[in-house]
Each structure stands twice: as structure tokens, then as C-alpha cells.
Symmetry: C2
Subunit: 386 residues, 2 copies
């Protein structure tokens, strides 16, 4: 396998972007990534999008977007693993370059979620759960994650305040991110007093509905050394895993087995352990998710995820900064784009270009992207190419 | 890049399968492919599906199906390029094996189309066209292909009867395929007298709405020589290309540029020309599609596709048999599964296992899978591994 590096990144602002269509958003992010990489063509393209069909009535977006980007007739494929679609798109591009079949591949993600009403948006998102056994009966994602939160509190003594600390920390970070949807600081009291969504989760425990796109350009590491305009970022590991998408089929709903399996493979591929990672972007679709993910990644022990934000460990100046971008909670969560937006932040930090939110030690970063209530997970580990 | 071979295939019957769900269908085809290959595990999986969200309210099917197949936590990704999703799934699996990242990869396709009413089914299919410029205004695929047919007739003198001959020939073949949805012979008169759908296309010019699934197992060619239970089939070329998905953006709507570009790449990769191919499975979603595709593949000259069926050239005993399986027209067209069902037929013919419809010379086959009105195309060339 050839070594693969990221040489360009781009993303739109995240938010309720009512004047921009799905194709507008994607092309904007993709052109920014191509400009950042200094390339005027790409050999192939993957686009992560969870449900362009239900959100916008448009499938077949690989070809649509390749043509709008002026790159047809290159191969272009949409990939979908619910909210982990962006991470899966990067893995597909990574494999295509690693194989030798293509040199310059664009891995993007896009979701245009605000073209449908709230009820239809909730319906579309619920199609990432098991339609026959969960969604059909009216369960939606806040409910599923609420069950995980209740189980985690019962099993490990995690406190309601621990959940709130995750949101507070991520808003502290997103406040410094010009692309973020919600650039406002919040307090633990704000979270505890915000509107109830599904007990114990309040509205400030939940990531928002967002429009946005992000893109990254990958190429062989050898080529990156020659053509990159900025420090190329090597992909040390790219791993993906699955679990049942229905909660009732899992032995322990507090344990994110897809993330654990993907992380184990990624650490093995990179020859690293969790202690070798400096910071991470993880999938905080709900505050409880970040807590479970840190445990599955081996960053903290089982059951200790609740302490991580409360103790300051995962703050920007903590021992292991998590979600310096603001995470899904503050930056926003255009579901198919999220996995690539995480990569955008990792590369920005590794390059030392994160401005006010720049971490003091950002030598090696990990991105964890997740689908549904943990049915899919993708883990990438990256550092500046030496 | 490592050489890649197909060692197992499976498919369900195609039809209106009201008692079987999407997951039932996929698992049936996948288990048959694993059994055919003689493997009890897979390392990774790709599933082609065009619109499981709009047809069944279920996205995130990569993980769902990997778990139902008993293979979680392997990586599993859904890929979508409209009706070319199956072909794109095979290309993803091919690249993953070629890269060295995985050894045994399942490439499947599934679509469960009859859970929605006719109107919603037509809406879902139309999302493969340009929603903003085509579908929104009420154009659906029969209308788009009717425009292509009218243009082809005007430009090249193609006759209405030429279209009918494609359907007659494909029904002749499907009559001998136990998996086919419509196992009945038809005549040119039947086609000409059948119900009008979009002038000049009648109902017997159109492929049907179908439920079904298909699967293929790929692995490195070296491994295939050791473990395969039946003659392994080498993938000589795997190529994909795009065009605008909207017809009005193309210079010439009778010319299928995505197919031409994918075919050119595939011939180059295999070191072959059209004359070196013995037979093909092509994307006859409408009769006019097969005519345009044969031209884009270089099997006949531009404008001469109409003669191909009429003259008998593409019949089972003709110079270049096309769609010995019955094609989409007679076998059925569960959109995401079609690309893999084509591979199923190529492998079956190459193995000499096609029974009554076995071709006399099936040494090397080509599969052409297409999305929308030609916005995507995937071409694979295969022969028995020597």
C-alpha cells in the first residue's frame, strides 16, 4: 500500500444557510480544498451524504457534484454510513490512492438539512436507526441517546452535570471557530435549565440541525512532498467498524463497540497507543456520546468518561484536548459533512493554523466519526508528513 | 496494485417480493455468495443501494446488513450512484482488495422498491435526475429516455421497431433465466401495441419495478487460486465515469459520454479493444438505452445501435451476445442490485453454468452499469483466472 497524505482542506460556514443549495455548498468547500492543495483537477471523488434523498429529493449526487465542480467525467461516488458518511468517504479515497489506481482524490461531505420541516428532518435522521424495530415505533435519536445516558448514569454513577460539562467545553471551543454555527459560551446552569428533549437530555445536550459541506484532497505521500503548498498531513491509520444499528441487540448500550473496534485497528495500523495521541475530534452528537466515545477510544477507562470534561482534561489546555473545533455541539452537524469537518480541524491544528483556538501540542491528532447510535464508526490518525 | 478475482456469487429471484424485507433479500444473496466462495467470514463489505431511504425509510444499511449477516464489526459502507450503485460497490471492493487493506470483501446490491406506492416509487426514481432542473418540473425517467429516443431517431434514422427488437431479444433470454421477473417471450407487435408510457416508449420498452439483491465475493487473485471452490474470475478492468445528470447540459443527448469514458479507461487497463470481448451485460433500463450504450462501448459505430438487435448480432447466437441474462427489461431492475446481478451473469457464463442460456463462446465478458439518464457509468471486464 502506498502512504497517503492530505494536501488540501476546505469547508463552508456551518449553519442554517437558506440561500445556498446542496450543490452550492459542496462546490464552495471543494474549490477551497483544491485551491488550498494547489491542484486544478482531481482524478476521482467520494462524497459523504447521509440522506440527500430525504432532505432534498436529490440522490445521485456524486455525478451531480463532479459535474458542477467542472470535473466530469471523473469517477464520483456517494458513500453513506449515516452520520459517519464523511469519515467513510475519506477512507474510500484513502484506499483508492493507497491502491495506486488514482493519485489525486477529493473526499467530501455535504448535507443540506434545512430544506425540510422539523418533523420531516427528524424522520430523515431516524432512518439511521433500525426502521423496523426502532424508528417505526416512534423512537428518535434524542430518545436513543437518552437511554444510553440513563444506563451510563446507573452503571457508572455518571452525573447529570458531567453531561453538561461536555457542552460547556465544546461551546468554549466553538466560540473561537469562525465556521461554527453557535458561537456562544454557555454555562452548566444554562444546560441544566434548557428545554427538556428526552430525559435526561436537554436541548443544550444536543447537536443542532445544520447545512454545510467540507472537503479534503488526498494524494500519495511521495507526491505530496513535491506538490503540496502547505505542510502535508500523513494518514497514519484509516479504520472503520460496525455494530448493530438497533440498541436492543447490544449486550451493553453504554459501550460503543464499533468505535472500540475501529480504534483498535487504527492504533495497530499506526503502531501507536492512545497515549501517543495529542488531541482528538470526536462525534459529540449528544453530550453522552462524547463520554462513551472517550471510553471506547481508550482515552479514559470504562465508566470514567463523565470525569473527562468536568476535570478539565479535555479542555483546550487540558491533558487531552477533545473537539477544539467546538465539536458537533457548537460547530454544527450537517450529518454527511461532519466526518470531513473533523479532518479539517485536525489538519488545521497540525498545521498550526487554528488561530485563537490553536492547541499548544498538536503533533498528532485522531478523528472519530460515528453513525446512528454507534452502528458505524470511522477512526483516522494523522500527523504532519515528515 | 494486486490482481483481484471474484470467487463467489449469489442472487435472489427478482420480482415483486412482498413477503421479504430489504434485510431478508440482502442476507439471502450474501449467504449464497459466501457459500459459493466457500468462506465463512468477510473482511469488509460494500452495499450498492440507490434509495433505501425513500423506498423503505431505512438509511445506514451498510451496518444494518453487516450485523444481520453476522459479520459485525467489519467495516461496511453503502455506496450510491443511482442505478449504477451495484457497479460502484464492486469497484470499491476491487480497490480495497487491490490496495492490500483487506483480503475478502463482499460487494452487494439491494433494492426493495415495492414497499411504496407507484407515485412515491416514481418520485424516488426521479431523484436520480436533476431535482432542481428536471424532476421538480415533473420530468421522470420514461420522459427523459423518450427524449433520447426521439433524438436518436431524428439524428440516425433509428426506427421504432429497432427499439422493440431490444425488448424482444432480452425477453427471449430472460425466458431461460430462473431468477428473471418476467419469464415470457414477446414479439415486436406486442411491444408496438403495448400501452404508451412516453412517446415513443411503450410499457414493453421499460424495465420494471423490482425487489431483489445480489452479491459477489472478491479476493486477491493469488488467494483465489488457493481457496476458490469454482473457477475464479479475474477482474481485468474496473472503471467508472460521470456526466452531467441533467440532459439539457449535454452537447448531444444521444451520446453516452460517461459510458464512453469508462469503457475507454477499462479497455486501456485491460489492454483490450471492443473486438476482444465475447459478450456483455449492459444497462437496458429502457430499450433506447441499450442502443446508445452499444455505441458508447464501441461495439457498433455511432448511430448503428438500432441495427444491433434487429440484425441478430446481439442475440445469444449472434456475433456479440448482449444481456444473455434477460437484462433489466426481462430479469427485472432492483436499481441498487442491478450492477451486481450483471456480474452474477458474467461469472455464471464464464464458468459455463448458465444452463439453457449458456453462450457458446463466453471467454471474456463486459458489464456496463449506468445511473440516471447516463450521469454515471461503471464498466468491468472479466475472464476466468488463468
Amino acid at each position: 500500500m502506498r502512504d497517503v497524505a492530505i494536501i488540501g482542506i476546505g469547508m463552508t460556514d456551518f449553519g442554517e444557510l437558506w440561500t445556498e443549495s446542496l450543490r452550492d455548498l459542496f462546490v464552495k468547500a471543494a474549490l477551497e480544498a483544491m485551491d488550498d492543495a494547489g491542484v486544478d483537477h482531481i482524478d476521482s471523488m467520494y462524497v459523504g451524504s447521509m440522506s440527500s434523498g430525504l432532505f432534498t429529493g436529490q440522490e445521485h449526487i456524486g455525478s451531480l457534484l463532479a459535474a458542477y465542480l467542472g470535473q466530469a467525467p471523473i469517477p464520483a461516488t456517494r458513500v453513506e454510513t449515516a452520520c459517519a458518511s464523511g469519515g467513510a468517504a475519506l477512507r474510500c479515497g484513502y484506499l483508492e490512492v493507497a491502491s495506486g489506481a488514482s493519485d489525486i482524490v477529493l473526499c467530501g461531505g455535504v448535507e443540506k438539512m434545512t430544506d425540510v420541516s422539523g418533523g420531516r428532518c427528524t424522520y430523515a435522521l431516524a432512518t439511521a436507526s433500525d426502521q423496523d424495530y426502532e424508528a417505526f415505533h416512534g423512537v428518535t435519536f434524542p430518545g436513543l441517546y437518552a437511554m444510553i445516558a440513563v444506563a451510563h448514569m446507573a452503571k457508572y454513577g455518571t452525573k447529570r452535570e458531567d453531561l453538561a460539562h461536555v457542552a460547556v467545553k465544546n461551546h468554549d471551543n466553538g466560540f473561537l471557530n469562525p465556521h461554527a454555527q453557535y458561537r456562544m459560551k454557555i454555562t452548566v446552569e444554562d444546560v441544566l435549565n434548557s428545554v427538556k428533549v428526552a430525559d435526561p437530555l436537554n436541548i443544550l445536550d444536543c447537536s443542532p440541525v445544520t447545512d454545510g459541506a467540507a472537503a479534503a484532497i488526498v494524494c500519495p505521500a511521495d507526491m505530496a512532498r513535491k506538490i503540496a503548498r502547505k505542510a502535508p498531513v500523513k494518514i497514519l491509520a484509516s479504520a472503520q467498524a460496525t455494530d448493530t444499528i438497533a440498541l436492543h441487540e447490544r449486550e451493553d448500550i453504554t459501550w460503543n463497540n464499533a468505535t472500540a473496534a475501529a480504534a483498535e485497528k487504527a492504533y495497530k495500523q499506526a503502531g501507536l497507543s492512545p497515549q501517543d495521541i495529542c488531541f482528538a475530534e470526536v462525534h459529540d452528537c449528544f453530550t453522552i456520546a462524547e463520554i462513551c466515545v472517550l471510553e471506547a477510544l481508550g482515552v479514559v477507562e470504562k465508566g470514567k468518561g463523565g470525569e473527562a470534561s468536568r476535570s478539565g482534561m479535555t479542555a483546550r489546555d487540558g491533558k487531552f484536548p477533545v473537539n477544539p473545533s467546538g465539536g458537533l455541539k457548537s460547530k454544527g452537524h450537517p450529518v454527511g459533512a461532519t466526518g470531513i469537518a473533523q479532518i479539517h480541524e485536525i489538519v488545521t491544528q497540525l498545521r498550526g493554523e487554528a488561530g485563537e483556538r490553536q492547541l499548544s501540542d498538536a503533533r498528532r491528532g485522531l478523528a472519530q466519526n460515528m453513525g446512528g447510535s454507534g452502528g458505524s464508526a470511522v477512526v483516522h490518525i494523522m500527523e504532519v508528513l515528515s
